[in-house]
């Protein structure tokens, strides 16, 4: 790599040297060593005296009526302690993340492959599985509705009907027309979050008739409330203790075993443990919404967008989950970070007998990004304009208006990001010599033939919202305690790999000047902090931690300030020492504490939002983040195999809190997007999940992952965000599939209107 590119690849170049502690330091995670060495205890490693093992019986059919359930054979098996079905749910029979529409156990109808029907507790995991298999369920198999387009006309699959949400967004003049019209039909496949650590949990009954759930929850308080409602006991008698979360890019919500686990513990009076197999993991958790998109863009002769018309259909699967939020994001960001004066977007989320879809980061925004960027490529091709130039002409900036009527008030450096990736040097073309290591499409031992390889360059511009939208009460509470020269943060924000605990330590280090900061494990005895998704904890929980730390700081400095007759603002804390602005006064934090414990608790509640109205208008979002990616791909145009050579990323991050962590978050997001673009698609013919394993479901490996160059990180602080920082994980996931598709389009001349890109769509014709 030349010196020029290495400077460009290092976003920290030209900045001040990194501090060792506090904001801006590349502090390592406190858990990274244990996780790397394999000693970190995850939920699957838990054990309790006298524990039983649970197994869940799941539906083999996508749609069937349950005629009868016979548990007697299972109960008679030696070692089996309890078998429970829908009849054994003492509390609410239905639950759900937003809408309670999902039964704990199916009673009369199963609506998707893998739906829970019964659960067993036994003294050995094999006995439990065999007993679950011995529950005799008589089904009357029904025709599954698997095509979301047919869901509108089909018989209702659920008492709530098949339409979960419809947003008809209308913005501007419907009669507006451009000189140029391009149309397209796009399909996005079903990505699975595929956490490497499969779901697991332990439930321990309490003497007071309650239960403790040790699970890798990403939203402990919501999981507690749902469990309590299901068990028919008050929430204070259910405690959710968050075990280490082995990485979550989605909700690690699999209520189909979390809820039965507690029921079995309450029924048997024994601790009950469950570990999901890989197959159960694929069947249990929510997937990304498969989406069908129809677009019509109107542009003038210079390529400026005049009007966008779109129809967006999300396949929500059998239950609503968070589909209405995904739909709001899809409709609101359907035009992308471009200035569009007139927009008419219809969005639907419908029920089918496919596996349920839910929160996977970048939901809604990712699917539309792939479609609107394909449309931008079509306009550029028709007008003969460079694709990057066309995008620049339409780029959104602060002060522009979204199709929802909301003004973009946060920094929106879209043109700057795009120019940065466009102007960064392209990777060298490989030389076809034996000495030159050229990784061809198809891999190192593949069939690649240099003469058949074409290179393509494409662009993607993406945007996401950062917090819950449409009036969600985004609030987090954090406590900071200082004692004995060390600080402890107590906040129920779950570390899912997004790096929140490290950021919390840095925030306290920065505010209090104390290096030794610990973050307490999370349970529901702490005040709620909300779900871990969209990187919202950087904003809300980071803000709460900062406020609490500042309150502790005031408590610590107030007596000293009073004694010396100066404001606390004139005192500084550094390396455990307190000094006045003029250096006259100097003492240590330990002395100032005098053995006292200082506690402070604070909340952060961002600016409220409002729901989208009946024409899709409203200030529904608080913060937004933007990203530009340039993809360079090599395509074997005879075989249709694609290798992504390089992805150059420029991202709007607000402020860099931890450079090393930020870089890994962006790389991880981009890589997840590579999976969406090329390989990840959970196939469900007739509603039945095929190949629920990591051989059949191809996650990107190191060889599939390109060089990821972060060419620019724009630090323009968002004044309403704590520290001005924006969460960084989701927007690269949204953008990289669109950029890769754009590059394959450039290499092959094919339309590439389906993700993941199938080889037959990347063969030149």
């Amino acid at each position: 790599m030349s010196s020029e590119t290495s400077t460009a690849a290092d976003p920290a170049a030209g900045r001040e040297p990194e501090p060792a502690q506090g904001i801006g330091a590349s502090l390592a995670s406190a858990e990274s060593r244990a996780k790397t060495e394999g000693t970190f205890p995850y939920a699957a490693d838990l054990w309790a005296e006298g524990l039983l093992w649970a197994a869940v019986l799941r539906s083999p059919h996508a749609h069937a009526r349950i005629v009868s359930i016979d548990t007697s054979h299972a109960l008679d098996m030696p070692g089996v302690r309890a078998v429970i079905t829908h009849e054994d749910v003492p509390g609410e029979a239905l639950h759900g993340r937003r809408t309670p529409d999902r039964p704990v156990f199916a009673s009369d109808v199963v609506r998707h492959h893998g739906e829970a029907i019964a659960a067993v507790a036994a003294d050995h995991p094999d006995t439990a599985r065999m007993a679950a298999a011995a529950v005799i369920v008589e089904y009357e198999v029904l025709e599954p509705v698997t095509d979301p387009e047919k869901a509108f006309e089909a018989e209702p699959l659920h008492p709530d009907g098949n339409l979960i949400r419809h947003i008809p967004l209308r913005h501007g003049d419907p009669a507006a027309a451009g000189e140029l019209v391009v149309e397209g039909l796009y399909r996005i496949g079903r990505q699975d979050p595929a956490p490497i650590g499969a779901e697991a949990g332990l439930a321990v009954p309490r003497p007071d008739g309650g239960v403790e759930l040790y699970i890798a929850s990403t939203d402990p308080h919501a999981d507690r409330d749902r469990a309590a409602a299901c068990y028919g006991i008050p929430p204070e008698r259910v405690k959710v203790v968050v075990t280490g979360v082995p990485g979550a890019t989605a909700d690690r919500e699999d209520a189909s075993f979390q809820l039965p686990l507690g029921l079995l513990a309450l029924r048997t009076g024994c601790p009950v443990k469950v570990t999901a197999t890989r197959e159960e993991s694929f069947l249990g958790h929510a997937h990304r919404h498969p989406t069908l998109l129809r677009y019509r863009h109107h542009a003038d002769a210079e390529g400026r967008l005049v009007k966008v018309e779109a129809q967006i259909l999300l396949d929500a699967g059998a239950y609503a989950d968070t589909s209405s939020e995904a739909l709001a994001a899809a409709v609101s960001f359907a035009c992308g970070p471009y200035v569009v004066p007139n927009a008419f977007i219809e969005g639907w989320a419908v029920r089918t007998n496919n596996p349920p879809s839910g929160h996977v980061r970048g939901e809604g925004a990712m699917q539309v990004c792939a479609a609107y960027e394909a449309q931008m490529d079509k306009i550029a091709k028709k007008l003969g304009i460079d694709p990057a130039e066309l995008r620049l002409r339409n780029a959104m900036a602060t002060g522009d208006i979204l199709p929802t009527g909301q003004t973009v008030t946060c920094p929106a450096p879209v043109a700057e990001l795009l120019a940065a990736v466009r102007d960064s040097p392209l990777p060298d073309l490989p030389k076809d010599t034996p000495e030159d290591e050229w990784l061809l499409p198809g891999g190192p031992e593949g069939a690649g033939e240099p003469a058949a390889v074409r290179r393509g360059v494409g662009y993607g511009l993406g945007m996401v919202q950062l917090l819950g939208a449409e009036g969600t009460d985004e609030v987090s509470t954090a406590t900071v305690k200082v004692h004995d020269g060390a600080a402890t943060v107590i906040c129920a924000a779950v570390e899912t790999g997004q790096g929140f605990t490290t950021l919390a330590r840095q925030i306290v280090q920065e505010t209090l000047g104390i290096d030794d900061v610990r973050v307490a494990p999370v349970d529901t005895d702490q005040p709620p902090a909300g779900p871990s998704c969209r990187g919202r904890h950087t904003w809300v929980s980071g803000g709460a931690v900062e406020r609490a730390a500042k309150m502790v700081r005031t408590q610590l400095l107030q007596p000293l300030a009073h004694k010396f007759g100066m404001s606390t603002e004139l005192l500084q804390i550094n390396d455990g020492k307190i000094t006045s602005y003029d250096g006259v006064l100097s003492t240590t934090v330990t002395e100032a504490l005098e053995g006292k414990e200082l506690w402070a608790t604070a909340q952060c509640r961002p600016h409220p939002t409002e729901p989208l109205d009946e024409s899709g208008q409203g200030d529904a979002f608080v913060g937004m983040a933007f990203c530009a990616i340039r993809a360079v791909v090599d395509v074997d145009i005879e075989m249709g195999s694609v290798r992504v050579v390089e992805l150059s990323v420029a991202q709007d991050v607000g402020r860099i809190l931890n450079p090393a962590q930020l870089k890994t978050r962006i790389e991880a997001g981009v890589t997840q997007g590579v999976g969406v673009a090329l390989t990840e698609n959970l196939r469900t013919p007739r509603g039945i999940v095929r190949h629920p394993d990591l051989t059949g479901y191809a996650l990107p490996t190191a060889l599939d992952t390109p060089d990821i160059r972060i060419v620019k990180l724009v630090e323009e602080r968002d004044v309403v965000a704590p520290f001005g920082a924006k969460a960084a994980s989701a927007v690269p996931v949204v953008t990289s599939p669109a950029a890769i598709a754009s590059a394959v389009r450039a290499a092959t001349g094919r339309p590439v209107n389906r993700l993941p890109i199938r080889p037959q769509a990347a063969v030149a014709q």
């Binding site: 891999g443 031992e445 005879e638």
Partner: protein, 287 residues
């Protein structure tokens, strides 16, 4: 779990315990165990049988031990002997799989995507089966894969006899990704100058490797075996690819009313892929 030290001990252990399952690398077997599809009553481990972990020479043939790992077969010394098998072994998966998975296991699993299988089919390899009482019998690999002959209870694949052809051999594999993955189609092609033959097998598109015999004969008749083999015109190489592909993925027979039944786009793409693989394989073998 038994860990015999010789092939005959292993056969004896299997005969004594008919419910036992032999395990070598375990890359397929343990996946079935972990997913709950298989719960063997007992295992006979083949990992300590040193006689099947190497190879020896025998009348112009190599006698390959069934316990040879993919990693071992991928090394340069082995590649100098049987280049196509070495290439298949290197393509057989990520390093963890290649370190454990064995040649015999690949044959015994007989998965359609087994990478060694088209190479063994093209080489017309013969399996040497160890049976009870020190018995040995031979089965052509294609007979076992086609189910014409089966392993009897207590029998184990001991060795694989492969001819040493001293001529170019190619194995090419198409996968859906750049990283290691299962083949969507693969082609093994070997030249046999002594018998003036070209032998080709197509893997992963059918339950067993397919041999396009007519295409082999046709192209062998075009090659100038005594002069430079590279003199074949590019059109002939392309035609060979098409020939192989249409032999392995034939057109649909016309419907009852005589109407043509076109192949689905996915099948057409597979046929195009096989044609490209076969063309590239022949091109590389002759260059």
């Amino acid at each position: 779990m038994k860990l015999p030290a010789t092939l005959d001990e292993a056969v004896a252990a299997l005969t004594a315990m008919p419910a036992a399952v032999p395990v070598a690398g375990g890359t397929d077997l343990m996946a079935s165990v972990n997913s709950g599809q298989l719960r063997p009553a007992a295992l006979v481990g083949l990992g300590r049988i040193s006689e099947i972990r190497g190879w020896q020479y025998q009348d112009g043939h190599a006698l390959l031990g069934a316990g040879l790992t993919h990693a071992r077969m991928g090394r340069p010394d082995f590649a100098a002997l049987i280049p196509a098998l070495a290439a298949a072994a290197r393509a057989a998966g990520p390093p963890q799989i290649r370190n454990a998975g064995t040649l015999g296991g690949n044959i015994a699993s007989a998965a359609p995507t087994g990478d060694a299988l088209p190479v063994l089919a093209a080489l017309e390899a013969v399996l040497i089966i160890a049976g009870p009482g020190g018995g040995r019998r031979e089965i052509p690999v294609s007979h076992l894969l086609a189910g014409m002959e089966m392993l009897r209870p207590g029998e184990l694949i001991g060795f694989v006899r492969v001819p040493l052809l001293h001529a170019p051999q190619v194995f090419l594999k198409a996968t859906g990704r750049t990283g290691p993955g299962r083949a969507t189609a693969s082609v093994a092609l070997v030249l046999d100058p002594a018998r003036r033959g070209v032998r080709c097998a197509v893997g992963a598109i059918a339950p067993m490797p397919l041999r396009p015999l007519e295409a082999e004969e046709w192209v062998a008749s075009l090659i100038d075996w005594d002069g430079g083999r590279g003199s074949l015109v590019p059109e002939a190489v392309t035609a060979f690819g098409e020939y192989v592909a249409s032999a392995c993925i034939p057109d649909q027979p016309p419907a009852a009313d005589g109407a043509e039944q076109p192949l689905s786009p996915a099948v057409l793409h597979l046929r195009r892929t096989v044609a490209a693989l076969a063309r590239r394989a022949l091109g590389r073998a002759l260059s």
